[in-house]
């Protein structure tokens, strides 16, 4: 009883086992790679090899089709959770110098007295992405865009690192801390809205999503409305547009008011 008696054509089990397996494989392969592709009248194949490649999933470049022209620019930034991780002291120092021209709106400590966003202690990846998008035109703003167009990649990285480094201070428009509204902790499952907190803190943080505690209520409301109307479109894969479009005006109010009323130390508990 050695393998020599097993793996030989004299052994009927070998003949039948291998033969049947091979036969089934060949028949199914002919079915899957030749018969079925041609059975689809709505697809045209130049020849059999073309059909086989298509059924095998060989990546193909379709020459005759060009991508539709984009009327508006979209974000081209790629973020990973390592983007700008572990900045050097020099980078932060350079960022501090550059940030002097931002202070007029975003405040000398990164806390805005107007309705511009607070930047102190914001995640570096978030500022990095927004600056890139302002520079490329994926996001536009009459005040902000002119500042961003002339920034180099290095300057954008330095600015992001600097603001991320600043301590998170309380905002300038204190209101009593509001309880969490449903939209923040539960979202609205039937309308496909994930809880705000699942990306923006409170529950979890996802790369590229800012923490929102203490931001100006007016600013957040305006952004949600801009996402909802499609006026703002630099969110990757429409992540925010899809959500904002499905939100009711009351939910937009509630979410903006809630986050504006939160002190920044809530954020620390999460990250």
């Amino acid at each position: 009883m050695s393998t020599r008696d097993l793996f030989t054509l004299r052994n009927s089990h070998f003949r039948i086992g291998v033969g049947l397996t091979a036969a089934i494989l060949i028949v199914t392969a002919i079915g899957g790679f030749i018969v079925l592709p041609f059975a689809q009248p709505w697809v045209q194949f130049a020849n059999v090899w073309d059909a086989i490649c298509s059924a095998a999933g060989v990546p193909q470049r379709v020459a005759s089709v060009t991508a539709p022209e984009q009327s508006k620019r979209l974000s081209e930034v790629v973020l990973t959770s390592n983007t700008l991780a572990r900045p050097s002291q020099e980078a932060i120092g350079r960022g501090a110098t550059l940030a002097q021209r931002c202070a007029i709106c975003h405040g000398p400590t990164g806390i805005s007295r107007a309705d511009s966003p607070n930047l102190a202690g914001q995640y570096a990846a978030v500022i990095y992405k927004q600056l890139h998008d302002f520079r490329s035109g994926a996001r536009t703003n009459a005040v902000m865009s002119p500042f961003a167009v002339n920034l180099t990649d290095q300057e954008i990285a330095d600015l992001s690192n600097y603001y991320a480094y600043l301590p998170r201070l309380p905002a300038y428009h204190p209101t009593p801390q509001l309880p969490k509204p449903n939209i923040v902790i539960y979202g609205a499952p039937l309308r496909g809205i994930a809880p705000c907190g699942a990306c923006h803190g409170s529950l979890d943080n996802k790369t590229g999503s800012p923490w929102l505690e203490g931001q100006s209520e007016a600013y957040m409301k305006a952004q949600l409305q801009a996402f909802a109307t499609g006026e703002r479109r630099n969110d990757i894969s429409q992540q925010m547009r899809n959500i904002a479009r499905a939100m009711t005006p009351q939910e937009i109010e509630a979410a903006a008011a809630y986050y504006a009323s939160q002190p920044p130390d809530v954020v620390k508990a999460v990250d």
């Binding site: 052994n11 079925l36 995640y123 699942a198």
Partner: protein, 540 residues
């Protein structure tokens, strides 16, 4: 009495202890996402629980049962001393260490990636390393099963390998090879990203590797159950195995066709060509064959028992069966659940039909019915049957055992039938809560509530099982005698070499893996631009 009682008991007790914990989590999940629960203010907790439940129920629990049962078979079917006991304890130790290593990050909310890993979602590296340790521990068992059979063959040249051991080793080879897919995914793709060496991952390729594991692992879970069908039940009810060769052919077929069919889990995935999906779908249809053979052979074996007990008539013999015997009861329940689950499986394996139930609650209903129902109820039966041989004490509470089996059966039906139903209505799986107040899904509230009630029946039954075994450790002592397996009507004197060895079938299994997976894997591995940024759990 078995010589390696401590080893086998350690495997079983650990298996049933983690089962008890995961079962409790399962019942909590059922409750919390049903209309009787309140919405979780932190849905992340649901995914933590789900990751723990899936990891334990999918990887740790069945592997330990297969291992413990495997050692018992090697010792009693071969009637020789188990070689490599120290290695066996090492394997067990690795599983303990791996489980602890995996559970800590899950509990801390650092690995809520679910047991299917879900890249580009990436959790804490220790979670994956823990899973790897569990797999490595089980590979030691595979090697020991192979080694012990080899030693036996040397001492019994040309003799037929006892069926239980033949099947046990087939199951171990199936596991060794199918675990390679997930191992490649973990070692080549996920762990480097989790350890921070890379920050992008080819999620499509990862899914293909996982599908390599995901189908045949199901048959690895099923092996102890099928071994029990063939080699325990007929003996326990006073019958005989209708055909020894039929049994061998079934296990061989599992070895060959359980592997190259995993892409039926990627029907909805764009990165696999439709031709390969068709091949996998057709081979999936073939895997029904060994199950049909088994159902036929076992029904015939049971009929033999009934006729030996004086059963008459075309169907009248069914009444003559020993229905108060827990083994008989477990087998019948298992077959009923296998029947319903198998019918559902036909829908899953059909490319087009699958589209309507893909990623819905139907899927969870389906695998709970087959796995939690048909398979696990036989794990209970195996434990009950082996217990006196492991403890030297009798399980006296037969009524309690019967109640436990009944409750598991009823609970599983009450849980899974409505679960399937809401799946057909489109309810997605892996959701922490549903807005049953919305008129669109309000009618599903009743079904989900029934499911949750079924979940509590199951929890009760599972806890009863553990109590019965624990009480069995303190019952009056008996001499259970040697542990025996069922014999066939025609107990074979010689068996053709192909039905007595695994080499040919293992070769076919590997060959079919290469033909059915080779191109899709190479295609993605060699193309550039197929990776996406990793999303780290709990990281900004």
């Amino acid at each position: 009495m078995l010589a390696n009682r401590k080893l086998i008991l350690a495997h079983f007790w650990l298996a049933f202890a983690v089962f008890g914990v995961a079962l409790t989590l399962g019942a909590w999940q059922m409750f919390i996402r049903s209309p009787i629960g309140t919405w979780l203010s932190d849905p992340e907790l649901y995914y933590r629980s789900l990751t723990a439940h899936g990891t334990v129920m999918g990887y740790v629990f069945p592997t330990l049962v297969a291992m413990g049962f495997g050692y018992a078979i090697a010792e009693s079917a071969l009637e020789q001393r188990l070689v490599g006991v120290r290695w066996a304890w090492t394997g067990f130790g690795l599983i303990v260490a791996g489980s602890i290593m995996a559970v800590i990050p899950i509990a801390l909310g650092r690995a809520s990636v679910l047991y299917t890993f879900y890249p580009p979602l990436i959790g804490n590296v220790f979670y994956y390393l823990g899973v790897v340790l569990v797999v490595v521990g089980s590979w030691i068992w595979v090697a020991l099963m192979s080694l012990n059979l080899r030693i036996w063959r040397k001492a019994h040249p040309g003799a037929p390998v006892p069926l239980a051991m033949f099947a046990n080793v087939a199951g171990s080879y199936l596991w060794a090879w199918t675990a390679v897919g997930a191992a490649l995914e973990l070692l080549l793709q996920i762990i480097p990203v989790a350890a921070g060496l890379k920050n992008t991952i080819d999620a499509g390729l990862a899914r293909i590797f996982f599908s390599w594991t995901l189908h045949a692992i199901v048959y690895f879970w099923l092996m102890p159950t099928y071994i029990a069908y063939y080699t325990i039940v007929p003996r326990a009810i006073g019958g005989r195995v209708y055909s020894d060769s039929m049994a061998r052919i079934s296990f061989i077929l599992f070895l060959v066709v359980a592997m190259p069919i995993g892409m039926h889990h990627t029907f909805a995935d764009p990165m696999v060509g439709a031709g390969f999906k068709f091949i996998h779908s057709t081979f999936t249809a073939l895997v029904a064959l060994p199950t049909l053979l088994t159902v036929f052979t076992i029904c015939a074996s049971v009929e033999i028992a009934a006729r030996l007990r004086g059963g008459r008539g075309m169907f009248g013999w069914i009444r003559a069966l020993p229905w108060d015997n827990p083994m008989m009861l477990a087998l019948a329940f298992s077959f009923v659940m296998l029947g319903f689950g198998g019918a559902g499986g036909l829908i899953n394996m059909s490319y087009q039909l699958d589209a309507s139930i893909h990623n819905t609650q139907w899927i969870t209903g389906h695998f709970h019915l087959i796995f939690g129902g048909a398979i696990v109820i036989m794990y209970f039966a195996i434990a009950y049957d082996l217990w006196p041989h492991l403890t030297g004490r009798e399980l006296i509470d037969v009524r309690l055992i019967r109640t436990q089996l009944w409750l598991w059966f009823i609970g599983m039906i009450v849980t899974t039938f409505p679960w399937h139903w809401v799946g057909i209505l489109g309810m997605p799986r892996r959701m922490a809560y549903f807005d049953f107040g919305d008129p669109a899904i309000a009618p599903q509230a009743l079904s989900v509530t029934f499911s949750a009630i079924g979940g509590f029946i199951l929890l009760t039954s599972g806890l009863m099982f553990i109590v019965i075994l624990a009480r069995g450790m303190r019952a009056p002592q008996v001499d259970a005698g040697p542990y025996r397996f069922a014999i066939a009507v025609h107990q074979p004197k010689t068996v053709p070499v192909a039905l007595n060895t695994h080499a040919l079938w293992v070769a076919l299994m590997i060959a079919l893996t290469l033909t059915n997976y080779g191109y899709p894997i190479l295609n993605l591995a060699l193309s550039s631009g197929t990776s996406v940024p990793a999303v780290y759990v709990g990281a900004q």
